[in-house]
């Protein structure tokens, strides 16, 4: 299973859970899997073309997926994913 940390703005969709578990082989698959359990979550994370929105950051085991292989970053059992709003800090 993959552990996914859910940021506050998405918790209305996950029944207020800050952490959920899902099965997926990549970040893209994870978004689809989350969306089937928590409908609507994909639209929040991705724009009309399916790309991640400008202000969404995703981390796999604490590493920004833009330093890995983006949305195609592979996931394996036990990985931890954080979805974090990009607008913070500075």
């Amino acid at each position: 299973m993959i552990k996914v940390r859910i940021p506050t703005p998405l918790r209305p969709l996950t029944k207020s859970q800050g952490e959920v578990e899902t099965k997926a082989g990549s970040v893209v698959e994870m978004i689809e899997a989350l969306n089937s359990t928590y409908p609507g979550i994909k639209d929040r994370l991705c724009d009309e073309t399916g790309e991640l929105r400008r202000f969404v950051n995703i981390y796999v085991n604490e590493e920004d997926i833009r330093f890995l292989t983006g949305k195609d970053t592979p996931l394996k059992d036990g990985d931890e994913v954080s979805i974090v709003p990009a607008i913070a800090g500075g």
């Binding site: 202000f55 913070a88 500075g90």
Partner: protein, 415 residues
């Protein structure tokens, strides 16, 4: 009627109440304060501002707080220094340094944003304040929290300059060092902010906090005799400061305080962490995050929250961006110190280095009124220059020894 109407998403326009939230639930866009400009316009004037307190609170009408029970009542209204020597050296007729190395109480521009953030946090009922910081912000939050009797947690990267670490500990907040870069600190704090009901000044209080930077634009214009400069050079970490200076200039125009904004806004970064300047030079409107590697630690944000908006503001203003090496940062610090007697931290070295480059490139011209924003004090980043400043001459307490050392005759003269 309140001067704040709502928080509004910069991306999709959805409105929210003026609470401690910073992200749009729909599109993750940043929330920004929406003001009631029509009401503000009825009462604001140059005279009212000029009659106000000798601090940034003279622009209270354009700051997102409700009352006047200020945390940080003395922040801002720092000197705008006419830099004749540095101007002559660079070939500029009218150069000014906006000198926030002497901001009150912690010697960086962060005292402005923190004064707004903590005033607002207290209005919203918070008792604990926190921040993710590259150093200056933490110092300011810790100091202001002490004075306002607020509980305080500051989170910093593990490799900060000694004076910036000490500059937290002295106020006795909880200081948490994270093994990692600022971007790791920031991500962790975003997650902590979601779990604890604290006022994270640059996370859930960010829509208010960031507005404090506008006062650097307001003061510059007022101190120039209600004129906008032709060119400004601004250091960039998250890009928020540049974005807000641009916004501040336009607010003054919208409220009739000035006629026009002709200012070109230029951004400065260090080569070892230049995601925004690199994107600008490549003609992109988006940036790629980087892993910072520079002595300009206060600007070492590899994943800048406002990078996109900084690129936009610079393009709108027909300004430019550039970056300098760490060696050029040290040279910039020395140049400013030795021409104007102002000791800036590394971010100031970045600003001066990029100013020099832009003049050389012909981007900034001789007759243009130019303002360089110097945002932090050199005593906090001594490590950066300690090996470049030489040593004192050491002598015995004797007149003979002194005169011998300086090759002087008995009646003066000599070197």
């Amino acid at each position: 009627m309140s001067k704040m109407k709502a928080l509004v998403c910069r991306e999709c326009g959805k409105e929210y109440p003026t609470k401690a939230i910073h992200v749009c639930e729909m599109c993750f866009g940043p929330l920004e304060v929406k003001y009631n400009y029509e009401e503000i316009k009825k009462t604001i004037s140059r005279k009212k501002i000029a009659d106000g307190p000798h601090s940034m609170w003279r622009y209270l009408d354009l700051l997102p707080v409700e009352g006047t029970n200020f945390v940080g009542p003395h922040a801002g209204f720092t000197p705008l220094v006419r830099a004749k020597n540095l101007g002559a050296y660079l070939g500029l007729d009218e150069l000014y340094i906006k000198n926030d190395t002497v901001n009150h109480p912690t010697l960086s521009f962060k005292d402005r944003v923190v004064a707004v953030a903590l005033t607002r946090a207290r209005e919203l009922g918070f008792e604990t304040v926190a921040c993710a910081s590259t150093g200056n912000l933490a110092n300011s939050v810790a100091a202001h929290a002490a004075s306002a009797n607020l509980h305080c947690y500051v989170f910093i990267p593990g490799d900060l300059e000694a004076a910036k670490v000490l500059g937290n500990l002295i106020y006795k907040p909880h200081v948490v060092e994270i093994e990692g870069h600022y971007d790791d600190v920031n991500r962790l704090c975003s997650e902590i902010a979601g779990e604890h009901g604290w006022a994270f000044v640059n996370i859930n209080i960010r829509p208010y906090y960031a507005e404090g930077s506008k006062t650097l634009a307001f003061e510059t214009v007022e101190q120039l005799g209600w004129k906008t400069p032709d060119q400004v050079v601004i250091p960039m970490a998250s890009g928020s400061l540049l974005t807000k200076i641009w916004k501040g200039l336009h607010e003054m125009k919208a409220l009739g305080l000035i006629d026009n904004v002709r200012t070109k806004v230029n951004g400065a970064q260090a080569e070892g962490c230049s995601p925004i300047s690199t994107a600008f030079k490549a003609g992109r409107d988006f940036f790629k995050p980087v892993k910072p590697q520079t002595i300009a630690k206060s600007l070492a944000i590899g994943n800048p929250a406002d990078g996109y908006y900084a690129l936009k503001a610079t393009a709108e203003s027909h300004g430019s961006m550039d970056m300098v090496t760490d060696e050029e940062v040290v040279e910039g610090i020395q140049l400013l110190a030795q021409t104007e007697g102002i000791f800036a931290e590394t971010a100031g070295g970045v600003t001066i280095g990029v100013l020099k480059k832009l003049v050389k490139q012909g981007v900034i011209k001789k007759d243009e009124v130019t303002v360089a924003y110097i945002t932090g004090n050199g005593l906090k980043t001594q490590e950066a220059v300690i090996n470049s400043v030489g040593r004192p001459v050491r002598i015995q307490p004797s007149l003979v020894d002194f005169q011998k050392t300086f090759k002087m005759g008995k009646n003066g003269g000599g070197a």
